[in-house]
């Protein structure tokens, strides 16, 4: 029966080629536009570390004074950590693993004479970073907590940077020179080389740094970076009283002052019980700090975000992209309305044929299925056209200058989803006309003919 219906549908579609073409074009355009934008949204909201992300959490404590008013620009100083808080959490060791970090953009001065100095991006962090995020190593490994404590001048480089600096030589044990803001060079001993590792988005970076961009090229111990006052990327906020140069905090270097936030902090917690305990630890810590007079807000404000919740909160999807997605869906909706109207007219025009089939014993259900298959066929054709249009759309997205643009491509599941969406849309569009058509009474139509 199925084959027969397909045959019938093909005949019917062939009879009105222009109209069929119009419907296929309409659904193709709608699907193409929608899938382009859904794919962009999909790549921007995907899990950056599949399999590991469920165990990663971002603690959130709020050291801001009660009088502090959020700036209009929407920046949130409390999303980052101050040095004393990050160090306290780090040294408390209450999580399975924990690491504090900040991004940086440094000048590297190669020892090879044929290479000019250049700038690279990387992160300053603490020992657990590599094991916690599962950074794959090409050679050796990261540094130890003892190195952090001792302020050892060690570095982990990406394979790309190591190859650029040292060519075919073994980079382990070599010295790489980074410049501080005063252009003074500092040597770091290479202890490990990572394989290409670039979670997208770079969830652990401050949201104002370009987290869809270049992967990290180096990792340095945070204690050393703070000691040398190396340059830091991203939001850096201070809410201390700058007008009082005699306050005890003003004597500390900027990075270590308790009223300046600039660090990110991630923890690994393997079980829900551990997560509950850690959240309690954050509340207790905030309560202690409040008692000491450092915090002013209620300790119960302390939160623990899962990785995906944190990304949702940071709202990495630009408004423009969301707007484009709604526009595309609105477009698809209008295209569907269009197809419903056209299918309805088409089916009702065949009232004669339908009533003959009904008179010869076809049940309402048979008519419904037959017409449904015809709609689905339009959907398949429209889906294929939509796929082509979406590929074209994604190609144009990739030409955009935005950081996320180069990621815009379909994976197999998105390809399948495109065709599926097209068929679902066209079958949905066919429902009303088919239902209306199968209610055509057999006798009446025969009589008027």
């Amino acid at each position: 029966m199925f084959g027969y219906y397909i045959d019938l549908a093909l005949r019917s579609l062939k009879r009105t080629p222009v109209l069929t073409g119009l419907m296929v074009l309409a659904i193709g355009l709608g699907i193409g536009a929608s899938m382009t934008m859904l794919t962009v949204l999909h790549v921007m909201t995907q899990d950056p570390l599949p399999g590991r992300s469920a165990h990663l959490y971002y603690p959130h404590i709020n050291p801001l004074p009660l009088t502090y008013k959020q700036p209009e620009s929407g920046e949130t100083p409390d999303d980052n950590f101050t040095w004393p808080d990050a160090m306290a959490l780090l040294h408390a060791h209450r999580a399975v693993r924990q690491a504090a970090m900040a991004g940086g953009h440094l000048m590297v001065s190669p020892q090879r004479t044929d290479l000019q100095p250049f700038y690279v991006s990387g992160h300053y962090t603490t020992a657990d970073f590599f094991a916690m995020f599962g950074v794959p190593f090409e050679q050796d490994s990261g540094w130890t907590a003892a190195d952090d404590q001792a302020g050892a001048r060690v570095a982990v480089l990406s394979e790309a940077l190591a190859r650029k600096l040292f060519g075919s030589e073994n980079p382990i044990g070599q010295t790489v020179q980074f410049a501080d803001p005063k252009n003074v060079l500092h040597g770091f001993r290479v202890v490990g080389v990572t394989r290409d590792w670039a979670p997208k988005p770079q969830f652990y970076a401050d949201k104002t740094s370009s987290i869809f961009n270049e992967p990290d090229q180096f990792f340095l111990p945070l204690s050393v970076a703070a000691g040398l006052d190396l340059q830091v990327d991203g939001n850096q906020f201070g809410w201390g009283d700058a007008s009082d140069p005699n306050s005890p905090q003003a004597k500390l270097p900027w990075k270590q002052q308790p009223t300046n936030s600039w660090l990110q902090f991630w923890v690994q917690l393997d079980t829900p019980a551990q997560a509950r305990a850690y959240r309690q630890f954050l509340v207790d810590y905030s309560a202690d700090q409040k008692e000491l007079g450092r915090f002013q807000r209620p300790p119960t404000d302390a939160k623990l975000y899962t990785l995906m919740d944190w990304l949702a909160r940071e709202n990495l999807v630009p408004d423009d992209v969301r707007l484009q997605m709604w526009l595309a869906l609105g477009f698809l909706f209008v295209c569907m309305l269009n197809i419903v109207a056209l299918l309805l007219a088409k089916f009702l025009r065949r009232s004669g044929e339908i009533s003959v089939r009904r008179a010869m014993g076809a049940r309402k259900r048979d008519i419904f299925v037959q017409l449904g298959i015809e709609s689905a066929l339009i959907g398949v054709a429209g889906g294929l056209l939509g796929l082509a249009i979406a590929q074209l759309g994604l190609w144009t997205v990739r030409q955009r200058p935005d950081a996320y643009a180069h990621l815009a491509a379909m994976n197999p599941s998105m390809l399948a989803a495109t065709v599926a969406l097209a068929i679902v849309a066209s079958v949905l569009a066919g429902l009303l006309p088919a239902w209306r058509a199968c209610r055509i009474p057999p006798a009446l139509q025969l009589k008027t003919q």
């Binding site: 536009a33 009088t67 526009l327 609105g330 309305l337 269009n338 935005d402």
Partner: protein
């Protein structure tokens, strides 16, 4: 034209007619709002910066040599850049230029009381302070950028300070002058960015756009401090004839490397001002293109729908058209019949569409901070849809009017 028979025909195709009306309504709603968004973006993209855009170019350099005094190095660089043929003037700025996204802004108050209040509240709200962008530069910035000095004077040589030191004088934009001193007469008065350091307003310039745009009413809140940068990162601003810019930039890079080769000159920061502007608005221009394409796409699909359906109806009614022709209807009558029918459906769609457009605009205002849709967009949208409807129904209607009366006598 008698409308009643058309209405009764439409009543027989209630569902189809309703669907078409809905499609037109949604198209109207979306297209009106999209057109409004396009207009907003076009307005943003064409904001004047206040500088001589077609004559300015910029090149950035980062000194990497230890023990070199940046200020002395910059002076040496400037002397070399001045020698380039075609360069009429050149200055060194720390980083900021209009629309180059390197914004540094400061809470600025007309008096110390307001400043104290702002410090105490940790907020500018409730004070008469604002947060303008700060520009700096070596002597000659006004001339090099081609700024329009409307009141007061340029800085005198003794007013310049090095680095971030508090300057004695400032030149501000008219917009900032009005914000700080709403009563006028800002010239000669003072402003405060730091407690205990009054800065005298010595000049007022017409316009100077900020490096990074925020709220529309604050786009021109800018001020210039007579500060000479003492940082390794420096941007040289060159003024030349428009056609010389590319050549001047190339010559500037060579000249800088000749003066001192231990520096990094990133090709990303060798730009004519037109390129800086294009980069800033590239996302908006893409969005404008996208919005135009989707509005046209929507209108296209709707036109297809109208034409497709009209075609169907003509085919379906061939016999009745023949009968009408046989009993005396002229071709024009038939043509007008279909045109009127289309007009009625589109009118229904437009009425509903206007309501939907207002609703959609309210949603966009809530979630995307879009301004209120001016009502004339709706009337233009309605006219466009009426024209579109008439245009798409024309071919099927002409076909209908060509149905010969003899069809009436044929059996199907």
């Amino acid at each position: 034209m008698e409308i009643r028979p058309i209405l009764s025909t439409l009543r027989r195709h209630k569902l189809t007619a309703t669907l078409l009306t809905l499609q037109i309504a949604f198209t109207c709603a979306i297209v009106c709002n999209v057109a409004f968004m396009i207009a907003n973006r076009v307005r943003a993209v064409s904001l004047p910066s206040g500088i001589a855009e077609d004559q300015v170019s910029a090149i950035s350099s980062i000194g990497i040599q230890k023990g070199v005094n940046p200020v002395a190095q910059h002076a040496e660089d400037l002397a070399a850049l001045r020698e380039i043929a075609g360069v009429t003037s050149v200055v060194a700025v720390s980083r900021s230029l209009p629309l180059n996204q390197n914004d540094s802004s400061m809470g600025t108050c007309p008096n110390e009381t307001s400043l104290d209040l702002a410090y105490k509240n940790q907020s500018l709200q409730g004070t008469n302070c604002v947060q303008p962008s700060v520009y700096d530069g070596t002597p000659g910035l006004i001339k090099t950028l081609g700024l329009q000095l409307v009141e007061g004077r340029d800085f005198t040589p003794d007013e310049f300070v090095q680095g971030q030191k508090d300057p004695p004088a400032v030149i501000i934009t008219g917009a900032l002058a009005k914000a700080l001193y709403p009563g006028g007469n800002a010239l000669g008065k003072t402003l405060y960015t730091d407690p205990g350091h009054p800065v005298r307003i010595v000049g007022i310039i017409d316009k100077l756009l900020r490096p990074y745009l925020r709220k529309p009413e604050q786009n021109y809140y800018s001020m210039i401090f007579p500060q000479i940068t003492d940082q390794q990162w420096v941007t040289y601003v060159l003024r030349s004839a428009p056609q010389d810019r590319e050549r001047v930039l190339k010559a500037a890079k060579a000249a800088l490397l000749r003066v001192n080769s231990s520096r990094i000159i990133d090709p990303k920061y060798i730009l004519t001002y037109s390129q800086i502007r294009t980069q800033y608005f590239r996302r908006d221009t893409t969005m404008i293109g996208l919005l135009i394409v989707s509005a046209l796409g929507l209108l296209f699909v709707t036109a297809l729908g109208i034409a497709g359906l009209a075609n169907f109806w003509v085919g379906q009614r061939t016999r009745s058209i023949g009968i009408r022709r046989a009993i005396g209807a002229t071709r024009a009558d038939i043509l007008r019949y279909f045109q009127t029918e289309n007009f009625l459906i589109v009118t229904g769609g437009v009425v509903l569409g206007v309501l939907l457009a207002i609703g959609l605009n309210l949603l966009l205002m809530k979630y995307y901070e879009l301004p209120r849709l001016p009502l004339w967009y709706l009337s233009v949208g309605a006219v466009v849809l009426w024209l579109l409807g008439q245009l798409s129904v024309l071919a099927p209607a002409l076909r209908a009017s060509n149905v010969p009366p003899v069809v009436a006598t044929r059996s199907v």
